[in-house]
Amino acid sequence: MSGMAKLSAPPGFLQRAQFTFSAWPYVLLLIAAISLPFTGANDYWILLATRMAIYTILIMGLNLVVGFAGQLALGYVGLLTIGAYTSSVLVEKLGVGVFPALVIAAVAGGAFGALLSIPALRLRTFYFAMTTMGFATIVSQIVLAWQSITGGGNGIVGPVFPAPFDAANGFYLFCLVLAAICTWTTLNLSNSRHGRSLLAVRDVEVAAAANGVNKNVLFLKTFFFSGFLSGLAGALFATLQSYITPDAFTLDLSVLFFIAILIGGRGSIIGPLLATVLLTLLPEISAPLVTWAPFLYAILLLVIVLLIPGGIAALLDVERRKPLKTGRLIIPQPVYLPSVLDNPAGAESIAMKQVELRFGQIRALDGLDIDIKPGQVHGLIGPNGSGKTTTLNVICGFGTPQQGSLWIGDRQIPFGSPSTRVSLGIARTFQTPKVVGEATVLANVMLGGTTLGTATFMESLFGMPRHRKDEKSLREHALMALRVVGLEELAAVQAERLQHSELRFMEIARALVSRPRFLLLDEPAAGLSPAEIERLGDLVKEIGRHGTGVLIVEHHSDLVFRMSDQVTVLNLGRMLAAGSPAEIKVHPEVVSAYLGV
């Protein structure tokens, strides 16, 4: 068996397939940045570099919200304003020390950032974008009006740091170190289950929920952290300007930050970093550019959106443009299943009892009973509109029936709340593959292990040991799952480059990663070649034999009969017949309603 040969190859293979992270651009940038003061550069360049560092801090945070979470936060200048004024007022009016004020300003930014997560969760894209613009305007209006504290239109003096941070070079290096730390934390986060979850929420929210991502909590933490960085940047900005007035915090600045991320490339860290450098330098290089700068930014944005959606990052990513081998075959290797599904088999079944689900007048499910037993492959077939996918959805927590109940063993589980299913041992695939196109296959599969990780958001940010342990074991585990479905050679490839059938198998791998007790497959054979369908059938049967209960919704009745231990036929939301494949094949009603002669 070819699998045997592969078994002996792991170490080098693992390295190749690892989510390759190229550190050299960051290191180069850092070296260039640190050496700037020592090249005898005059204070003007140091000033510009300091500004770049400060903008970087904010943009790294904003990147998580805009680039990773896909939320179009156009009004982040509001958080910059809050940070700047908080630190200035604390130091100037309340005599607080500069460093404590810095931290408090960051926390204030975080608090308001977290507040913004509420509209992000409740509102649609465009509405959220508008709300953030409104937020930025509210902040600037309040700053203008609250004269006694903020000095109103006349502004307030910015905090001054003690030596050596009050000199140009000293302050620059201070901001640089902070910028480097912030970049490092966002890098860590992007390589953690939190970062992967953000991307999943952005691109395939339904799949994120099905893999256990709790959007509310994730957003709260992400928005807080993002706001924290913005507040920090604001406080540093106030010091850089030495005196802040409301007219420095324009909506144009907000749009600039936003565009930097889009031009840099969503979901990338190095891209927005380079874009920040570029956009800060641009107006300084040539005077006529100052007048037309906003126009140029807009054109850049348009070009990126229309032609290079991946931004600068996509241009830099040579790796991902390397051609793939054609004529690839998917050869699953079920022999590796034990290493993936290494949890003891359960004895409980999923039971759906008397479930009724109506959409208006239509009864999608009309009093349905169905069981999924462990170690059994249960096929679900029926004509279009019979409620097959709806059944699967209800079990997975999508859709709330008006009547009936859902059980695992003798525990009743509530309808709805899809993100709890994975912890209950229920995993699924989708009718159309739901993957994060720009992430690698491996990263996509690792999404399945979201609930397996234990490292907290904070631990991931700072690359704590638990985070690194999580990542290492999850990577190996996911690779093993890819081996099972026969896709390990494509682990480092961007998912959007895969063929349709490969995506289907990848989804199965993703589901397997969560060590599910129950695997629900929604038309997994659609679009597969006959050879692939056969291999799929063998794989599913093996999965069943390992103790996982499988529910497979399919149109390919031959496939279903071949691999199932139990078959249920639905019609008009009701069970038409249930039994062994042999029984169903010849069942008169089934034949007339569905199978035909």
Partner: protein
């Protein structure tokens, strides 16, 4: 509150409310044909004021010619929006790239106006002769414009084939396509129409808002509030929402002062939206599950 102050609030509130409502209608017309919300809506309004002033005041064209060419400018911008900002990104609607492309276009339009026209507010000429005492043109012109547009849209939708085609597209794109309706041409036409409506709003509101490049951003936001409150695609909701916003804004300005008035508007808007994300009159959109 004296009678004069009350009248001032009502007159100014209604007039500005009509302008906001018209921009709301602009949003709706673009949305109905494409499911896209475009950031350019407010900029059409700004262009209406700026181009109108340029043609009638600076170039001394007669009023009817100025109005006509202003509408043409709006139409052209609408078409450009569709071709450059909407058509290329329609295939990835869930990615919401249209927000970015239309934002880019809006920024470009704004910057061109800033550099070529001026960054200071400039006067907008009187266009009708009718202007005595309380019946100042700046108070009734926006109202007339709104009535004309709403009536026109109703007639269009009810009695013309094109109007019914618009309705079909907005109800169910796939079915409309299956029926053989020329989806793309209809979309371009509706964006052209939106551009015209937007620039008409700016033209009618020129006396009140002045020919000012920054009006675009303000109208983009304030014209969006009626849509958010009235429900996306719902022109009657936009009308009610716009007028309510106008009056609320003026009342707040009077009661608590200009600065706090805008804070009041934004806060009220945010809370209302969080409470009813589909708007007060809108229907909740059902998303396809899987």
């Amino acid at each position: 509150m004296s009678q004069v102050i009350f009248f001032s609030i009502v007159a100014t509130g209604l007039a500005s409310g009509c302008i906001y409502a018209l921009i709301g209608v602009t949003y709706n017309v673009m949305y109905s044909a494409s499911r896209v919300m475009s950031f350019t809506a407010g900029q059409y309004g700004m262009v209406g004021g700026v181009v109108g002033a340029l043609l009638i005041q600076n170039l001394s064209l007669p009023v009817w010619a100025g109005l006509l060419l202003t509408l043409v400018a709006g139409i052209l911008l609408g078409i450009v929006t569709e071709i450059v900002g909407v058509r290329p990104v329609l295939k990835n609607l869930e990615q919401h790239l249209y927000v970015l492309s239309t934002l880019a276009l809006a920024l470009m339009i704004k910057q061109v106006a800033a550099v070529e026209w001026s960054t200071e507010p400039k006067p907008f000429p009187r266009v009708s002769g009718i202007d005595t005492g309380i019946w100042e043109e700046k108070y009734w012109l926006p109202v007339v414009a709104l009535v004309v547009v709403i009536a026109g849209l109703e007639l269009l939708n009810r009695y013309t084939l094109m109007g019914r085609a618009f309705l079909a597209i907005s109800e169910d794109t796939f079915a409309a396509r299956a029926l053989g309706l020329p989806e793309r041409n209809l979309r371009v036409t509706s964006f052209a129409l939106a551009g015209a409506i937007g620039s008409l709003a700016g033209f009618a509101g020129g006396q009140m808002l002045l020919a000012y490049f920054d009006n675009g951003t303000m109208l983009t936001f304030y014209g969006f509030i009626p849509v958010a409150l009235g429900g996306l695609g719902n022109n009657r909701g936009a009308l009610v929402g716009g007028l309510a916003l106008g009056i609320f804004q003026q009342a707040a300005t009077f009661l608590v002062g200009g600065v706090f008035a805008s804070v009041a508007v934004f806060l009220a808007f945010t809370f209302l939206l969080l409470a009813r994300p589909e708007g007060l009159f809108g229907n909740s959109r059902k998303t396809r599950l899987v």
